[in-house]
Subunit: 291 residues, 2 copies
């Protein structure tokens, strides 16, 4: 039996609890903590946790594992607050979207004898909160596991066990590789999506345009409906990687623009054909792996 | 009873036929023409047309209305080829994604006594062909109706009747307004989508990144899976509007980049909050109107 404490019971924390209860084979004893007592009560009611603990210090003590499933904006403070309460041998992980900063904070704030191994399940929704949590949120999703240099196989193993228990696919990567990769497939798309909404909805013709906008616009802009606080923290904590991807994107866009400006039909077609092939290959791989 | 000939029996032409048969109240007698005889036969089999006419000239003659539902790349030639066969009083429309060029071609190629009123149903899929045609493709979608200056209310009325018969919502706009608007909500997103695929999949880390890419990447890049020929023709026939939107987008993106570079949390949050509000307002309006 592994004692795990989930701190933060929103979409991710709540879904982790539900998934551990449903798929964890009874191996997990789950304590839940939320800043808001009514959320912890709700988590208990829906069976996402076994115990709702109103005190953060008590929630962090006498447990084998702590999962910080809170916004990255409060994660540094949480690390500092739980640090004095953690038992020796406890493993702490998180679910934040960026990893470099979190690993730095954990390295400086957690006491000796407590290990930190970062985590990032690649699953989400554009809505958030416990109400939209679900047990199968992580099914088939990649779960990035981000150990600091020198992590023990014990700590790595425990976070891997958690990822597998919620039916995700663990992938061990360095913090730098993680932050570079998610900036490309997640943070850059978020910025593009928000910029697309901004530029179209500032147009004087938007009232009519909005009637024409259909499925393509809906999908391309979906990420713009996400949590703005979370998006801001992503941009701030993964600043360098996001900037570098924006620059690479801007270069690609200006090359595409040149082909259009020159009315270079062959060039445009080659770009679109190559993008289509690459995207279809990704899509096939994804549906094969059940992701 | 209105005699209508659909030229081109792919996703759009086939769906128009199916929708007219299902929802048209028996008021439409549909002749179908496809360059490929097996497609016309298939359209007859699935009940998308009443008659499959193998000759383009014959298909265009003795009909009240011709709908050109072919790629824009062949639409100019088709206008020239059907011109000598059209009966006086016949109304010709199309379903192309851009309207300026098509109206020019129709104006110079169609004989006096034949009227052209452009059309563009705002519905589609990233797949194409008769196999994916469906009767309810246009349900609740906006159907742009683009008359040239001086169009008669008779011709405008007939194309409007067609749009309503397939359960779409007619919206009359000028060619210039149409091309400007669709460049913003459809052609710019296509270019962004393809550029995003290109820049991510050229990254040396793509094999691992592809495992991390999830729903956000899927949606933001969906348009990149569309027909490259169609995308090329869109960029070529709506070149000026697409270029102008790319420039506006690039400006917006560089302003967003500046906020990130300055680690201006308030600025980033304001951009994301504003995009979220605008996108949610659009989404609510869309679900209210059943689009």
């Amino acid at each position: 039996m592994t004692k795990v404490t989930i701190i933060g019971l929103g979409l991710i924390g709540g879904s982790l609890g539900l998934a551990l209860k449903r798929f964890g084979g009874g191996d997990w004893r789950i304590t839940g903590y939320s800043r808001r007592p009514e959320t912890a009560r709700k988590a208990l009611e829906i069976g996402a946790v076994d115990v709702a603990e109103p005190g953060l210090g008590r929630a962090a003590s006498e447990t084998d594992m702590v999962v910080l499933a809170a916004p990255i904006g409060v994660t540094r403070d949480l690390l500092g607050e739980i640090a004095p309460h953690l038992a020796p041998g406890c493993v702490v992980t998180d679910t934040c979207s960026t990893k470099g900063r979190v690993l730095e904070w954990a390295g400086s704030l957690l006491p000796p004898g407590v290990e930190f191994v970062g985590g990032h399940p690649m699953a989400g929704k554009e809505t958030w909160g416990l109400d939209v949590a679900e047990a199968n949120l992580f099914e088939g999703a990649t779960y990035c596991i981000v150990p600091p240099p020198g992590a023990t196989s014990f700590a790595l193993g425990l976070v891997t066990k958690l990822a597998k228990a919620v039916r995700a696919r663990p992938l061990v990567v360095s913090a730098a590789a993680h932050d570079h990769m998610v900036a490309g497939i997640s943070h850059l798309p978020l910025v593009l999506s928000a910029a697309l909404v901004a530029v179209t909805q500032q147009d004087p013709k938007w009232p009519d345009m909005s009637l024409l906008a259909a499925g393509g616009y809906r999908d391309t802009t979906r990420l713009a409906s996400g949590n703005p606080d979370m998006g801001r923290d992503i941009c701030l904590t993964n600043r360098e990687a996001v900037l570098s991807w924006i620059d690479r994107f801007a270069t690609e866009l200006s090359q595409f623009r040149k082909d259009i400006d020159l009315a270079d039909g062959k060039g445009i077609e080659a770009r679109l054909t190559s993008a289509r092939k690459a995207r279809e290959a990704w899509s096939r791989q994804r549906s094969k792996s059940g992701g």
